[in-house]
């Protein structure tokens, strides 16, 4: 098994593996999003105290979870990159950051539009909201740091340090509503228990799965471009370009999401 995994740690074989996995995750993302939206927006009843404004939860909570979880995955890849010194690790961190930032922004944005009708304000500086804003700045900071360093391998190392330092913020976000007095309410869903009606909970969990599928599909698609850019002088990229590069440039390829068999060699 170990040999199997290390084989895919090389960008060349991971490129092909990612290409074969993308259609499945993208398809799963579309299907789960449609089911989740149907359950959340059509089937689920109105909430007893918040009326229909609570329906923002179907985006807000999955986005907030994904924003935090993506950061943990980035930190995992960053740690692996520092320990094993593999090229793929830095590329994965690079590929995950924009999606993590996007979901964190969505959590902040939808939270504002949820807070206004329920709490009476778009924003307050309580511990939960402030620490989530810090998470967004960590993502932005990582991308800015990468952009400022020309050598990709040095950017990997600097980015890994920033990512690992910032990981302390994740438990702070998660436990902020327990550790301090916050305007934000406590967690509705905790391991083993929930304070939501079943239909509502189902819709939210399906949307959370959709966010996972989307993040996997989009970051695999992005890492393929990053691999091409960073490995363009290698022999295998040369063969790849000879077989599909012209098509892609001419715009007649199956596109970024399309599977391809060339990457497997």
């Amino acid at each position: 098994m170990a040999i199997h995994w290390f084989k895919y740690a090389s960008p060349a074989s991971f490129y092909g593996l990612a290409g074969r996995m993308i259609p499945w995750f993208a398809g799963a993302a579309v299907v789960t999003t449609l089911i989740g939206l149907y359950v959340g927006l059509v089937l689920a009843p109105t909430d007893f105290q918040q009326g229909d404004s609570y329906r923002i939860i179907y985006i807000h909570v999955p986005a907030a979870w994904m924003g935090m979880f993506t950061y943990l995955v980035m930190a995992g890849w960053a740690a692996a990159g520092v320990v094993f010194n593999t090229r793929l690790s830095g590329m994965m961190v690079q590929a995950l950051a924009p999606t993590g930032a996007m979901f964190t922004f969505v959590a902040l944005w939808t939270g504002a539009f949820w807070g206004r009708p329920t709490w009476g304000t778009y924003w307050v500086w309580d511990a939960r909201l402030t620490s989530t804003l810090i998470l967004f700045f960590l993502y932005i900071g990582y991308m800015a740091l990468r952009a400022s360093i020309d050598d990709p391998r040095r950017a990997d190392r600097a980015g890994a340090v920033l990512t690992l330092v910032g990981v302390v913020n994740i438990p702070i976000i998660y436990f902020s509503v327990q550790w301090w007095n916050t305007l934000h309410q406590g967690a509705s869903v905790r391991p083993g228990s929930s304070s939501m009606a079943t239909v509502m909970l189902t819709g939210m969990l399906v949307m959370a799965v959709a966010a996972w599928m989307y993040t996997i599909a989009i970051s695999l698609a992005r890492v393929r471009s990053i691999i091409i850019e960073r490995e363009q002088h290698s022999a295998w990229v040369g063969e790849l370009l000879a077989s599909e590069g012209h098509d892609a440039v001419a715009g007649t390829s199956r596109g970024a999401m399309g599977s391809n068999q060339q990457g497997t060699r």
Partner: protein
């Protein structure tokens, strides 16, 4: 030590050091991170009297009184131990309700009345259809029990 083990040791040590630093910083900022004070904390003189602060708790049932101008509201904030009277002139959020959570920002006057310039509703983490909430309410009434507020107000 192999280079790999050395790198792992450095990362582990670095993260441990960071965790300690973060814990110290958070401890130092604990007071500033308190978004609101409970009535009990206000009575214990933990809240600043010389500058505006926030008070949080439940709106005491039966305490909401509207003045003749239709804008000024008086109500009492409770954490089930202590009660602080509040006055506020302005529009209340939709979820402002007796028996529900509230966070008000303002100053505590020498007369013991908290004059708020902003009132926010603090809802709990329960989500259910109105029928289920009604059924739950009826069940509670028939038992005659008092259920502690969810979410934990004050310490």
């Amino acid at each position: 030590m192999k280079p790999r083990q050395k790198r792992m040791a450095i990362i582990g040590g670095g993260l441990a050091a960071l965790a300690v630093v973060a814990a110290l910083v958070l401890n130092a900022f604990e007071d500033n991170l308190l978004f609101f004070f409970s009535p009990t904390q206000v009575y214990a003189k933990e809240a600043p009297l010389d500058r505006p602060f926030r008070i949080g708790g439940l709106v005491e049932a039966g305490s909401v009184k509207r003045e003749a101008d239709g804008l000024t509201v008086a109500f009492k904030v409770t954490d089930t131990a202590k009660v602080v009277p509040v006055t506020y002139k302005g529009i209340l959020p939709d979820l402002f309700q007796e028996g529900k959570g509230v966070v008000a920002r303002g100053r505590l006057g020498p007369d013991g009345i908290f004059r708020a310039d902003q009132v926010l509703a603090r809802h709990d983490e329960n989500y259910m259809p109105p029928e289920a909430a009604y059924a739950l309410d009826q069940a509670k009434k028939s038992q005659g029990s008092v259920v502690a507020p969810a979410g934990g107000y004050g310490k």
